[in-house]
Structures are given as C-alpha cells and as structure tokens.
Amino acid sequence: MKTSLLAADARTKKRNAAEKRFRAYGLSAIIVAMSALLILLTSVLVNGLSSFQQTFITMDIELAEERVDKEGNRDPAEMAKTTTIGYNSILRDALIATIEGEGLTTDLSNRDIADMISKEASATVRDRVLANPDLVGQTVTFDVLASGRIDGYFKGDVTLESAALDSNTSPEALTLAQQLADAGVIETKFNWNFFIWPDASVQRPEAAGLGVAILGSLYMMIVVLVLALPIGVASSIYLEEFAPKNRITDIIEVNISNLAAVPSIVYGILGLAIFINFMEFNQSSPLVGGLVLTLMTLPTIIISTRAALKSVPPSIRDAALGVGASKMQSVFHHVLPLAAPGILTGTIIGLAQALGETAPLLLIGMVAFVREYPAAYTPEAGLFGEASTALPVQVFNWTQRSDPAFVERASGAIITLLVFLLIMNAVAIYLRRRFERRW
C-alpha cells in the first residue's frame, strides 16, 4: 500500500474527525451553559421590568364635607367613621366627572367605572384626608392607582381579547382607559411604591410592594452579620492558629465541611424545632430567621476565613513572636489585620448566600401575610421579634397566588434581589482586588 506523508490516510482522518467532534462538544457545552444563563436572566427581566412601572389616574377629587366629615368638626376620630366604602363612591364620582370633563362618553355602568380604580386607592385617599383634615371641603388633585387590569393593559399583559373573557374588566373599560390615557388622565410612571409599600391582598396586585420584605431581609442580614462574623472568625482563629492536631479538632473540621453541604431545608427544620418549639422565640420573626441563616452561613465564613488566615505567611507570626508578642498578640495584632480583606470578602459572599436563601425561612413561618412594618425593637416582642417576611420568601408567596399580575411582581422582586446580590458581590470583588496582597 502506498502511503504519503502529505495525504492523510483513512485512520488519521478518522482520528482528526474525532478530535474535531470532541472540541465541538466542549465548545457547545460552554455555549449551552452561557445561553442558559442568558435565557434565565432575560426571562426574569422580560417578566419583571414592568413591575417598576405603575399606572396612575390623575383626577380632581371633591372632598365634600357632607361625605367625608358628617359632623363637620374636622375631628379625625369622627371622620374615621367614613369607611373606605364611603370613599369608593367619592372616587367613582370623581372619575365619572373627569370622564365627562374630557368630553368622553361610555356605555359602562357606574360600577364598572369604579372598578377601573384600584381598591387600594380609597384607603390611600382616606389616610391622606385623616392625616390632614384641612383638605375637607376642597377639591384636591390625586394620583390614584388604576386597577390591576388597567395597569396590565398598559403593560401589554392584558389585551382586548383577554379582557372579553375576564370577569374583572371588559374591552369597553380598556378602550375608555386608552382614551383617558390619550387625554393625559391615565399615566404610567416609575413605581417607587413598589419598594416601599407592604404586601397587598390577593385582589390588589397593583398595590403590592416589597417594603416589609426588604426591611425583614435587612434585619436578618444584621443578625447574621453580628453573629456569624465574630463567631466564624473566632472559631477559624482557634482551628487555624491554636488547635492542637488531635481527634477532637479533626472531628470539628470534618463536621464543618459536612455542615457546608447539609441541605438548607434541614436548617429550617432545626430552626423550627430548636428556636421556635424549644426556645419559644416568635414565629416569623427576623430574629429566628437570622439565627437559622447564621448557622447556615457559618461554615462558609469559617472556610473562607481559614483560607485567608492560611495565606498570611508564617514569617509574620515568627517576627511578632520574636519581638516578644504572645501567640494571641501575634494573631490579633498582625495576622488578623492582614487577613481582614479575605475575611471580609468571604463574609460578604456568605451574606449574599443568606440573602437569597428561601427554603429554611418557609419552615419558620416567614410565609405569613404581613402588612405591618416590623419594628426593630418592641418591649413585647423583643429585639427583631415582630413578624416579618423576607425578599425571597415574598417572591415565593407571590408565585402561589392565582392572579397573573403577581407573576410580574414576583419577577420584579427577583430583579430587586438580584440587584442587591450584584452589589454585594461587586463590593466583595472590589475589596479583593483593592486589598489583596500576594506574598
């Protein structure tokens, strides 16, 4: 058989083809992984960005004395007798007047017109009036929330076709809303309230916000930071610098690496059994949530702190000991400050992990519907003892509701959560770049 070095034989061709195939597999694996990330982020953004916008109706509301303050004394206690139901009709009449003022006509019944306004709006107006009785008798311009369906229409989630099948709205209402929007009465603008307002009931997706959840998550992060950082650093210092090499420290080390791999839901069971059933801390409180997350993040912090301590060269310790420092002084005065950037980076990454954790919080009752902003301290509930929810749990909560408008809210909450995580990780990376020392 004639062979040539210039022409590849069949076997070589086969081997080269195999080589090419192998490379292609590798490259496509990377492409698949990166496109999965891209699709994931796009899906969340597409679904969620609209939750940062909200549709408002701007209208002049006549706060007639006989309707909001029957006694005429401007006494908030007496005025509180007019319930939100009373305000509903005031808002309805104001909207009808606005529609007529714009010269628009509609076949809608008065009730259907009232349904264009969010049920939350009357409470908002009522609170404003009660807080400021001088408004009574005047005609005041309010930006009130439009109902969830009208809001969905301007965001493209509700169409004339879908409205025809929907008992909560009708194509006529949407057409009217469009005319009002053309006249500048209905406006869609940035929704700061999404970050401030508490959760709202199932019928009012347009009024649901993240206020309580953000506050609850903040409290828990404080608890985690205050407990996990000192405990984690102290135990790393002991294990890395002082512990004799024996069975007990071996057990502790194996134990810590195993704890890092325990499923997070198991920590939830621990929290339920120990902190709530045994210690009788308040259910749904940021304190219990923080404690559970502390135990969960401790292994992460310990592992990264030990790595940071290990990277400080022994010559630093030897120099300190050589000039008469005790072992403790050499660690606290020299090793620890040098390891601080690494420790801080590890702590921030641990905190970011804790911020996104959901499963254990479900078990300790943080799924409860909470509308009151939790106080950091009250004499009855103690420190961080008031019921609260947390960002990731709020997302879960919203996904469990049937109204599709809550899916948009849930995605919006996810974006908020991801932005917080992004900031934390960026800070961690910056700290590492800025302060990391190579020896």
Partner: protein, 400 residues
C-alpha cells in the same frame, strides 16, 4: 429572660468600671513606673473586664437552657448568682493585681476560652440538627408504624387521620428529578471544564469561567421562578402536549432541567480544579507518543482525574437531592410512582415544606412525618458527602 436584662446591664457597667479601676490600680502598684510591671496596665484592665463579664454571661446561657428544660422562669436565686459571679470575678482580678502577676497570660486564657466556645458552635449545630430531628422522628414512629413509612407505596396525608405516609413515592420523585438534573449537568459541566482547561484561550476562559460561576451564585428561588413561568409552559406547549405525555406545566422534566442548569457550575468548577491538578508531564508524554489532544484527554487526563470527578458528581447529586425551591415551584405536589417524566411528581423536600407550613399540629403524625423525612434526607445527603470525600481521598493519585 426579661428580668435578666437588668443584672446583665449591671455586669457590663461593672466591667467598664473594673477596666478603669484595674488600669489605675496597676499603675499605682507599679509606683508610676510601668517598666517594673510584668504585664502592662492595659492587660490588667482587660483581664479584669473579661473576668467580670464571662462567668456571668456563661451562667445566663446555662440558665436559659435550664429554664427551657424545666419551664421555670428566672428567679431571685439566679439573679443573685449572676451578680455574685460578676462581682467576685471583678474583685478577685482586682486583688490579684501585683507587680509580678502575669495579667497577659490570664487575659489570653479567657480569650482562648471564647475562641474554643466559638468553634464548638459548629459541633452544637450538628448535634442540634440530629437531636431535634431524632426526637420528633421517635414521636412519629410512636404513632405510625415505621414499616409503613419505609415500605408503603402510597402517600396521601389526611388531616382527619388514617393517612398513608409512605416515603417511597417521594423518594422516587426525588431520585427521578435528581437523575434528570445530573443527566443535564454532568455532560455539560464536564465538557465545559475540559474545554476551559485544555482548549480555551485566556480570553474565552476569562469570560466563560466567571459566567458559568454566576450560575452558582443565583439564589434557587430564581431558578424556581424560571421553572414556573418559562421552562414549565414551554415544555408543556412544545413537548408534552404535542407528544401526548400530559398537560402539566410542573413536571419532573421541568424541575430536572432547571436543576441541571443550577448544577452545571458545581460539576464544572470542581472538575476544572481536578483536571488542572493533573501534571503536564502526563499530557506531554501522551502527546509525544502521537496521541491527539482528545485522545490524551480521554485516555490519560480523565482517568487520572476520575476519582475527583466522581467526587464532584456525588457532591452535585447530594445538592440535587436536598434542593427545595426548584422542586417546590417546578415539580408539582402530587405523589406519584410513574415513569413519565412529563408528569407532576413530588419530592421529599416538597413534602417537608408542605407538611410544616400553614397550620401545624405537633401532635399529629401528618406534621411529625416531616421530621422523619428531614432525617432521611439528612442521612442520605450526609452519606453521599462522606462517600464523595472518601473516594476523593482514597483514590487520589499522588503525583511528585
């Protein structure tokens, strides 16, 4: 607990006062010349403060535990003990201030004690996990036959009693979802790791590696939502319904695929480290004998890295079995023993969540079963982790 706030505040005040008293006393003992002192005034002061605070605080912690165990409230006797310990500690350490006393050593012993206490918290966590679950699991098996729990093929809790609480359908769902997740994650993760460490240039590496690691930093609730609103409906509309597999958006497939995406970085970054640890000389030897690069990888690098890769896969499997939010939102809630991957099934973690949220009654087996499920989950994942570490250690090739 409330009534201990005042004594504790008193102790802290005493410690602050003790700090300054000790400092001035040390100076006085030295006669104004601190060079004669064995330990610096600051160290005497620190020793006094620690001696004042640590014993009473330790006593308070012990008492809180004791009070919970016996249901007793705080009483006068205890308040006295706490204050007494603080005052004694303060007084003894102040009396002990002499020129030749080694306050630095004493203070550091206190600190060492604190460090040791901190490092036992990890142990206490494990003990807490095991005991809290064991205790309630025993309660559960007191009310429900363990044979039915482990061998019954049906799961239908009923809050009026007479529930079937067999773990097998849940385990089946768990293993099925985890299997699909691994089928997705292992090839992608492994090939990505191989390509990044063997073929990719520094530019691709610097983009792709962090991008894949971002997947690991995304909270699982995000993946859950992704499964619920994107992957589930797409799978239903384009695969399950046209092919006649069912109409459910939440299915084993949905949860499995999304979980697979989540696991890619676990497999890839661990494998990447291991592949990089294979010495270059082995590759050079193989290439020098005329093997192509892919032959070298398949026949030299992968076999050398195999124990580590198997370890990485086992760790990913343990992650998959314990994962909660993706399956809660993606897999469904119906306990079913079925082979159809487009059907909704449920897992151990989903049932732990559903049995322990809402109104729970800690006397009924329907609630207590969650602890038995949790313990099973803990044992399985722990076993996988220990096994993974064992394999990595036992079969690690020692180079050099």
């Amino acid at each position: 607990m409330q009534s201990l706030t005042t004594p504790l505040l008193f102790i802290f005040a005493l410690a602050v006062i003790g700090y300054f008293v000790a400092k001035s006393r040390a100076l006085k003992v030295a006669g104004g010349d601190i060079r004669t002192l064995v330990s610096l005034p600051n160290q005497h002061a620190l020793n006094t403060a620690l001696a004042t605070i640590i014993p009473p605080v330790a006593a308070v912690l012990l008492f809180a535990l004791y009070g919970r165990l016996t249901d007793g409230g705080p009483n006068w006797f205890f308040t006295l003990v706490v204050i007494g310990l603080g005052v004694t500690g303060c007084a003894l350490s102040l009396i002990g201030i002499k020129v030749e006393s080694r306050a630095r050593t004493y203070a550091e012993r206190w600190i060492l004690g604190l460090l040791i206490f901190a490092s036992t918290i990890a142990i206490m966590t494990t003990v807490g996990i095991v005991f809290s679950m064991l205790f309630e699991t025993f309660n559960f098996f007191g009310q429900y036959d363990w044979r039915d729990f482990f061998f019954s093929l049906s799961w239908s809790p009923n809050f009026r009693g007479n529930s079937d609480l067999g773990i097998i359908p849940l385990l089946w769902g768990t293993l099925y979802v985890s299997f699909i997740a691994l089928v997705v994650a292992v090839p992608i993760g492994l090939f990505a790791a191989i390509y990044l460490s063997e073929y990719a240039g520094p530019r691709l590496r610097s983009v792709a590696k962090p991008a894949i690691e971002v997947l690991a930093g995304i909270p699982t609730i995000v993946y859950g939502l992704f499964a619920l609103i994107t992957v589930g409906p797409v799978l239903r509309d384009y695969f399950a319904e046209p092919m006649g597999f069912g109409q459910s958006a939440s299915s084993v497939m949905t949860a499995g695929i999304v979980m697979g995406v989540m696991l890619i970085p676990f497999v890839s970054s661990l494998s990447d480290d291991i592949i990089n640890a294979v010495p270059q000389a082995m590759r050079d030897g193989s290439l020098g004998l005329g093997a192509t690069q892919s032959e070298t990888i398949r026949q030299v690098v992968i076999p050398a890295a195999l124990p580590g890769i198997v370890g990485a896969i086992l760790l990913a499997a343990s992650r998959a079995i314990g994962e909660t939010m993706i399956v809660v939102l993606g897999a469904g809630a119906a306990a079913r023993l079925s082979l159809n991957p487009f059907e909704a099934m449920t897992t151990v973690t989903v049932k732990i969540v559903s049995q322990l949220t809402g109104d729970t009654d800690f006397a009924s087996p329907e609630t207590l079963v969650a602890f038995a499920l949790g313990l099973t989950l803990f044992v399985i994942t722990l076993g996988l982790n220990v096994f993974a570490l064992y394999i990595v250690r036992k079969y690690r090739e020692q180079y050099e």
